[in-house]
Symmetry: D3
Subunit: 247 residues, 6 copies
């Protein structure tokens, strides 16, 4: 199968980490194409930034989804996920949703560990929308700033490891989710040093994409809402406009 | 006070209806400025369209919010509301949230009446996010297509009246919310013909904006997340970029 | 408009504070009439006291609501609110409900700060009934006794300020609600000293009353339950009996 | 044991039915004292009436609870229950809470059958507050008026039987609760004619009172909130004032 | 009445404690028969052990329920309770459900105190399933191992007392439930030393069984699902097979 | 990978259908071993039957899990799933959980279609426990009996197709889950005839098992509760006893 991964952040270095992590998690015959949005911010911390990223992500999906079997939106918070599911004819996954649902099948209580204090109320809402409030052990985030987002997992490895251990020992987590695409790949490095499994959100979404690719939406008979077929759509790329007007 | 209203749909005819309804609902000394997004669709029916509208709305808010005391996002579904609240230093309201919270203080059970079947699952989610599931009597929507969105309230007046009455008689609604900016102003015309109050979502948001304008966010001491201050923000208008980097 | 405010506590000194706060929050053309119940307790701390206050409040509303455009029940806990909404033909607001819904539109997480430890489980229930559990950052209350309830905001200003700051720094509150009519007016004095906005519950209810006065219940076609029309009502004031039997 | 039952309605004929039903349900050595409030309405249909009944009930409890081992508030809706629990040193039960919790242990889904359409939204709220929403099959109420409340169970027996059967056949109820003190005793007459058990709310509360009488609150070490000890309490009976000031 | 109590643990010493506690709680004319499962583990700590215990309990109920008026499953976690209710023609109670519902009528917030850290997430789920999440003050468990389960209440009395006091003083509990059949009888010994009532789960279930025995399921007209009537049931005792095929 | 599938029903014909469906859904290099419990009932309809099946399933898992990479419990209702996850060192999946979580990623609202009316309240509970209540469009079940469970999908194909279509047209389902191992394989036959995707629960669990096999529990550092290590475990197979005492 062919899997499209869109990085909703503008940082191509993080796209490279995402792609490498996805390739290690994927089955041998899964081909991965990782692309980066062309506008927005290098890493999303706020809902305002996520709103912009959602638009940019839809444009990238429109440009690249033509011959893929599934697509992943690779920023925790899953910007544009609901919208993309309406528009695309293949399964679309978000790394947050994939990681939390996967964790809920692997263990009883999960903790989210991430790199910015701003995430906490946002991710609490995300947990609640998935109906997983009773499965959440805690959300622990770095409280201080950091230098270079593309090197954050090396720069803050010790602090992130401490958060993982606190989630296990103080909060009762049975599994840890490293929440955030800039942390892609870190789970493998921390695995040996934490008492419970650590789930990489990009790896989880990659595996889930492989699982869901077997269940494509129905080509002609979809129930997807048909809003835009006869409406002008202004100010978006031609590919996205085409998707809207086909949808 | 000065109230900015952004129509997240591209239809200026609907903007005119919104503005007229807001002016009738507002206090005499409230000045209303109604603006229309410059990209997106003429009326939002899907979440994908709402994702686009959120971006376009943030740009319009950035361009016009400088000297207003409050802002209203005038499309049911409130595209970009969470994001706008992070960015603006004045209260921001959405017509859906305003109408539902107002209704919850005026009566026990409300029904939403709207013009497209696609809205139902979307609006159910909106009700749930406000914590008002137990206050919802029903959501009733027109099932058939319509001709001209800018004339829908005249074209479908009888059908919408029937939905209002069914909400009262079959679903036990104590108050009706006409859900959707294209219906702005219709509540006044239907009021005499329905046994319970009918709430206009634009009027509700206008009154709520006046109420909240007394409670501005703190200028210097905000807790708004500071994501973008030092980050490049690509591909948005200069005004929106400035807002991000100030935020 | 003419706004009736009922103090469900017997303390006229607190009524004076409530009235002064409401006048500062109100629009210039809003006329405020503040009245005090004639039986009950000087300040409500328990649900048993609130049950008594509900009755006394209904009587005062019945005596004074004749020519008002909206009414506010000015004790946190909103004694008699549901009942009053059934009986009166104008919007009725409670300071707790008004403050929490207003806060939910102004910010993401609110904390309640109040003056007696007994309030905590009661107010938790109130938050849950409004569907706002996920928006509550914390409830913080004075743990010790106090001298004179009518001077509590001066006597305990430092301790209350500390609670506000703890709510922000330890609990992540984005906005503080000073919960309790005896604290009316204190928000203005503390505003400069706390990093997030502080909402006065009396001010919030006053503004909400102005907003809702535009949406009166339907005079002849109400869905209000008609329990007592043909029933004898014993032991209440003639005005309240009349309201029951009209309802 | 000695069980005090307060009828929050002013109808002594209904008190007699309640007492007779309780006596049939009680153990042989349970002594029942049934008293009637002296003010309020002959039967409660609205929340406004329930607010009045709560006060009147507290007064009756204060006057008669001195030497009882448990007390029952015998109107569905349980007016004053939370308040009474704060004030009394013996277990206090409500017929609605008792019936619904009992039903939840006897069967999976219960339906409420009652005599006035106004009850439906009120009882839905009561179910939700007990956390039993997922156990509720339906609430079915008589839609038409009736003649004499004290004879309603005879007058409307056929219609009530039909509601019970509809709850079983159309709504999937596994057990029926006859909701309302005026229906006390009817369950026994209908039992043979309905396919699932019918629970009498007065009988359920009587049995629960016997169960709970073994677990009295702690005399000296209570956590009951101490609001009124040093406060004047105006306008209530001396017995109730004493209870407040002891509490 | 005759009350059957099944100990789902294989420890007959604990069965003896259960029986003695039940007899002290029961009415004089209640005859208690306490039996012990013949397979499984001496005390249940995990859900896997509870799954085994559920089967063994169903077999014991099938063997002994013939002439009882009610049955109690005497292990916190209530293994097999839903299943037993489908199969038996008398009320079946669990000690966890009985204790928590009883506590919810006696006080506002309860804490569970138990003897193994593993219980916490499991009991949180149990609380949530009963809809009592908002009534739970805390769950506090012994963190260390213990010697002999049959003597745990003597061995760990001081530590358990400390947990009870912490639940009151730190968590705001209004009532404590000693959660676990191995703690049967301990509540009586600790009662004097804790500021709030302590509820024995076996005593609560015994009293609830007496209450519910008045409301037997309907002999011929049950809505219990009819799964097995015509199906072979392999590998269970003849009595249990008979119950399945009658059910 | 090697996938163990346990049929908790005693019908080997249904095991054959399950195995065939799993093989079609699986990746080429997934080896499937399907086994059948040796006691219990040929098809589970009640919770009592599921309680028995849970035990029998644990025994089969203990006997066969030694060299598998993941295990699936193949009866809707997922008997023994929580218990198995505590005991096994590989991911364990249930067909109900897998199907519902997969559906929640593929579409907004799912309906369950199954073959016995008894399932409805049970499956409603299962949906609620997964936190997916707001995603459930409906549960539709055959109301009449059937002849041979092993041929039910052929015998009742038309009736089941009708239920699927009603779920789409009347209930607004965006995806259908055929709920029940006896329906394994039917989705493929109905796919062309229903307007929305139909999800086979066995296929969904197979794909999820492949996805989760990449994330094994931690061998030595598990947080799984350690109940039985030092306890005698009576009356189960030696393999299951070994698993308990290792756990």
């Amino acid at each position: 199968m062919r899997l499209l991964i869109v990085n909703p952040n503008t940082s191509t270095d993080i796209t490279a980490r995402i792609a490498a992590t996805a390739r290690r998690a994927a089955s041998p015959d899964t081909e991965i194409e990782a692309v980066t949005v062309t506008w927005g911010v290098p890493y999303i911390v706020t809902r305002a930034e996520a709103a912009i990223a959602a638009c940019a992500t839809l444009e990238m999906l429109a440009a690249h989804a033509a011959d893929c079997d599934a697509a992943v939106i690779a920023a925790f918070g899953d910007p544009g996920l609901d919208a993309a599911r309406e528009l695309l004819s293949v399964p679309v996954l978000g790394v947050a949703e994939s990681a939390m649902l996967t964790a809920s099948m692997l263990a009883r209580r999960f903790s989210l560990v991430s790199f910015a204090a701003e995430f906490k109320p946002w991710y609490e809402d995300a947990v609640e929308r998935l109906g997983l409030r009773s499965r959440l052990a805690s959300i622990r985030c770095l409280q201080d700033g950091f230098g270079d987002i593309t090197r954050i997992q090396e720069e803050k490895e010790t602090a992130l490891l401490t958060l993982c251990r606190e989630a296990v020992e103080l909060d009762g987590a049975d599994i840890i989710i490293l929440a955030g695409a800039p942390l892609a790949g870190l789970a493998e490095r921390l695995a040996e040093r934490v008492a419970v499994p650590i789930l990489d959100c990009v790896a989880a979404a990659t595996r889930q994409a492989e699982a869901l690719a077997a269940f494509p939406p129905k080509p002609g008979g979809s129930r997807r809402p048909r809003g835009s077929a006869s409406k002008p759509v202004l100010g978006v790329t031609p590919e996205l406009r085409a998707l809207f007007q086909a949808g």
